[in-house]
Amino acid sequence: MEKRVFFRNKWLPYLLVAPQIAVTLVFFFWPAGEAVYQSVFMPDPFGLKTRYVGLANFQFLFTDPYYRNSFATTALFSSLVTTISMSVALWLAVLADRVGKKAGRYTTLLIWPYAVAPAIAGVLWMFLFMPSIGVLARALGHFGYTWNHALNGGQAMFLVVIASAWKQISYNFLFFLAGLQSIPRSLIEAAAIDGASFTRRFWTIVFPLLSPTTFFLLVVNVVYAFFETFGVIHTITGGGPQQSTSILVYKVFSDGFVSQDLGSSAAQSVVLLLLVSGLTIIQFRFIERRVQY
């Protein structure tokens, strides 16, 4: 049964949604519009006046090997972060769910990393892996492995991925645990009586029924990896070495605010905007269809 409320006053509904619309307009549409506008202009070296250049900014971007490389970096980075944070979180959630109600304390402990600000998380991991004084870096040195993420691009990527994934695990864990607990116990019991082992039950019953949660987290995690990992990257590697950890959103910042190329930065924002909207649409269109609600 659907219940609907009818408003007699024509303006009341508009009034009620007005704050939300105002916030969206001021903090999203206005800056986004500004970015689109600026992406077709190029400021002079002193920033005194700007010149209309059409699509030159975009043209330049796509011939820039560093920018094209940044796409590959972003793809690698976000898929690694999403996969690692979601699979580890799911694994932890399954274990916690098995323990049952007694897992409360464990759950609380697992949530803590989420309360750590991205920049702090970055610094934390940076110190652990600092080539000179980092505990883990020195431990690796003992085993004959040279760790220096300031020189080695692969190691730098590994470190920012771990730090970013680590922070997101708590969030994913909470949702997965809630998802697992909402699966009726009798379904699991029925599968157990039907002869399915724990692993088989997981892949044939639990995982398919968890798909709404998984899908939701997939969208959230991709967006997280694209945008919210800025703090982590900024504190650990600053996009280096050799731009090997410069994901798209980091390049928007470094090209715009560090290199003062505002036109290119604006053009990059527009590309990023289109990319994320596209990605989200694809996710909803194609993955949602296979989701069991």
């Binding site: 009798s186 019991e189 157990a192 039907d194 002869g195 088989r200």
Partner: protein, 347 residues
């Protein structure tokens, strides 16, 4: 098909004892209904047989095998849950095929078995549907089908009809009974509904507070209740109880403190000549019968069942109540039935 026997079975959570020292033998092909009020431990008992709950003490034997430490899947049982527990993301066919696939049967055999079962339950046209596209009764049937295709030694039904409406419940009751006869299956059926228990059971087990109060065929239990609990729980409307301290009734066996009389055995008589006097409080007119509710001066309530053809006394009139000697059931102050010379015989 197999025998099931429980010996001195006990279940406790910490210090709370849920089932205490329960012994029960179930014959091959029997339909046993375990009935009792909610919280009496009947579902726990079923889940212990299924292997979903651990057994604190005692032994459970299915088909001559002690199953205490076996996983549910090793016990050769099938269970139908109260909420059916159908896998929502699978079609009816896949739901029924799930256990067979795990058992490693080849596709042809699986299809053949499902076809046979689907025909038995008239589910052929629903095989491609998902559970959410089915009505409650159809889901119930699928849940049974899922149990039947496996051809297990024992079927366990946990309140399978309580989510259905009254009419469907009556219909499914008959279907379960017919099906069980056809398959010759050993079936344990848990319910809180005493009508369901009476109509389905070969033998019923009446439980209360984790203890078996009585085991017997429905009519045995009805005509010969062992305790006040059984007497009050089985039969609708429930048996009337008269406290012997307030009523002067002779003859009475020694140690008796209560006398119970079923509503259909209670009769009107002139004031002061019967077991007690009471005032007519109200009527429930059910068509074929009329239930007369009465209240005595000291507050005891009685129900008297009348054929509709008989005219009841007017409201608020005082009447005497009596019953033939053979319909008087005497109980001691522990609720135990007293077997006396004049115990009512089964008709």
């Amino acid at each position: 098909m197999a025998r099931v026997s429980l010996t001195a079975v006990k279940k406790s959570y910490g210090k709370t004892v849920v089932i205490d020292d329960l012994t029960l033998a179930i014959e091959d092909g029997e339909l046993i209904v375990i009935v009792g009020p909610s919280g009496c431990g009947k579902s726990t008992l079923l889940r212990m047989i299924a292997g979903l709950e651990t057994i604190t003490a005692g032994t459970v034997v299915i088909a001559d095998r002690v199953v205490n430490n076996l996983e549910p899947r090793e016990r050769d049982i099938a269970m139908v849950f109260q909420n059916y527990a159908l896998y929502p993301h699978m079609t009816v066919f896949a739901n029924m095929a799930y256990s067979l696939k795990i058992a490693g049967l080849d596709k042809g055999e699986i299809a053949k078995r499902i076809e046979t079962t689907a025909r038995l339950l008239e589910l052929e046209s629903f095989l491609k549907r998902k559970p959410r596209q089915l009505s409650g009764g159809q889901r119930q049937r699928v849940a049974m089908g899922r149990a039947i295709v496996r051809n297990p030694a024992v079927f366990l039904f946990d309140e399978p009809l309580s989510n259905l409406d009254a009419r469907l419940r009556v219909q499914m009751r008959m279907e379960i009974k017919t099906l069980q006869r056809k398959l010759g299956a050993t079936l344990l059926y848990v319910t809180h509904d005493q009508v369901e228990a009476m109509t389905l059971a070969d033998r019923m087990v009446v439980m209360n507070n984790g203890i078996v109060e009585q085991v017997g065929t429905p009519l045995e239990v009805y005509h010969n209740p062992a305790t006040t609990f059984v007497a009050g729980f089985i039969g609708s409307p429930p048996m009337n109880f008269l406290d012997l301290n307030n009523h002067n009734i002779v003859p009475v066996p020694v140690k008796a403190s209560l006398v119970g009389i079923r509503p259909e055995h209670l009769r009107f008589c002139p004031l002061g000549t019967g077991l007690c006097d009471a005032e007519v409080a109200f009527f429930e007119e059910l068509g074929a019968e009329t239930l007369v509710h009465l209240r005595s001066q000291n507050g005891e309530k009685y129900i008297l069942r009348l054929e509709s053809a008989t005219t009841p006394p007017a409201l608020a009139t005082s009447v005497g109540l009596t019953a033939a000697d053979k319909y008087r059931f005497f109980f001691d102050n522990n609720g135990k039935r007293l077997k006396s010379e004049d115990a009512p015989p089964s008709p």
